[in-house]
Symmetry: C2
Subunit: 168 residues, 2 copies
DNA sequence: CTTAGATTCGAACGAACGTTCGAATTATCC
DNA sequence: GGATAATTCGAACGTTCGTTCGAATCTAAG
């Protein structure tokens, strides 16, 4: 809170006029962040029918936000279970919706192409690939979000699509 | 430190008889952890020649340690840059060696099979997949390390191997 | 201008944290 | 057993943190 006070120029006590506690402020930030990501994703998916393309949009949307707000995500990624039950539940619900969307996208691809893999592990592996990026992405060395999304999309989609097909 | 005191049964002051500071204790834990992982990996790679198999061993070794010490890795994964320069440098060197080993394994596969992909991004994506596991793996729902390593190995290896081959 | 409400802040409180110190206890060797 | 060293601990230190409070300042309306 003292860091925020210094960074914003507002006094420490002043912050508490707007935010009743540090925890509630973190809750508001998390809620805003994850709501924004989900909203943008839904807008971008609108009207796109191809299963593979929809997954690529998911990856691009995620990486774009994570790289544009790298410092913020460095904090948010690790604040998973710090919110007390009341606050935590609502944020967890948004994250669960986001997770479910990704599961849906993958299940569509799986059904359409008769693929065989564990959706749960594929989705969580994909999240791992994407979320870990804040620990290593360096704008002076690594490509931008669009290029990163293409490379990771290639890696991931080949991984799930080169798999065995279900007998039909 | 007070948590450690309670958990170990030793008094708070007693801990400082053995460890000169909290930072040095964290350094010793990190050094021991990452040294152990690298040593076990090297032992397991001994005598294995097949490139693909060597990568599968890398994944299994990593996941086995991460899942066997899930709570510990939850902490260590996030203590990346907290060690002051003196302590941090040595731990960073071990991690870099570990990273280089993985790069070497992938470059071998790439050369042998004439594949075309960014080793850096492939390695860091693989680390992301594997490291993220501590956030979601639930022993009552998910399979053990060997099965997880097989599934993630399938996903990752198909991803890099299904790629375009270099013109020869 | 006056008043009431909104906004801002310096100063402090109590709790938690990393660490230290001197005394007490225990182990080791002659 | 007594001297020396190793080990353990209660109590406190100074700092940082989240939070509160009352006073001061600013804004808007009559």
């Amino acid at each position: 809170m003292r860091d925020l006070s210094r960074a914003t120029g507002m006094s420490l006590a002043g912050l508490y006029y707007y935010f009743e506690s540090k925890e509630r402020l973190l809750y508001l930030i998390q809620k805003h962040t994850f709501t924004t990501i989900v909203e943008r994703l839904k807008a971008r998916l609108e009207g796109v029918d191809d299963s593979e393309e929809r997954i690529r949009i998911f990856i691009l949307n995620h990486l774009e936000y994570f790289l544009a707000n790298q410092a913020a995500m460095k904090v948010l990624s690790h604040e998973d279970e710090v919110l007390k039950n009341g606050f935590g539940a609502e944020v967890a619900a948004i994250k669960r919706e986001y997770y479910r969307i990704c599961v849906g996208l993958l299940d569509n691809l799986k059904r359409e192409r008769g693929l065989q893999f564990s959706t749960r592990i594929a989705v969580l592996s994909l999240f791992g690939m994407m979320n870990w990026i804040y620990t290593w992405h360096n704008p002076r060395v690594d490509a931008d979000a669009a290029a990163m999304a293409r490379e990771m999309g290639d890696l991931f989609l080949r991984g799930v699509m080169a798999g065995r097909r279900r007998a039909e």
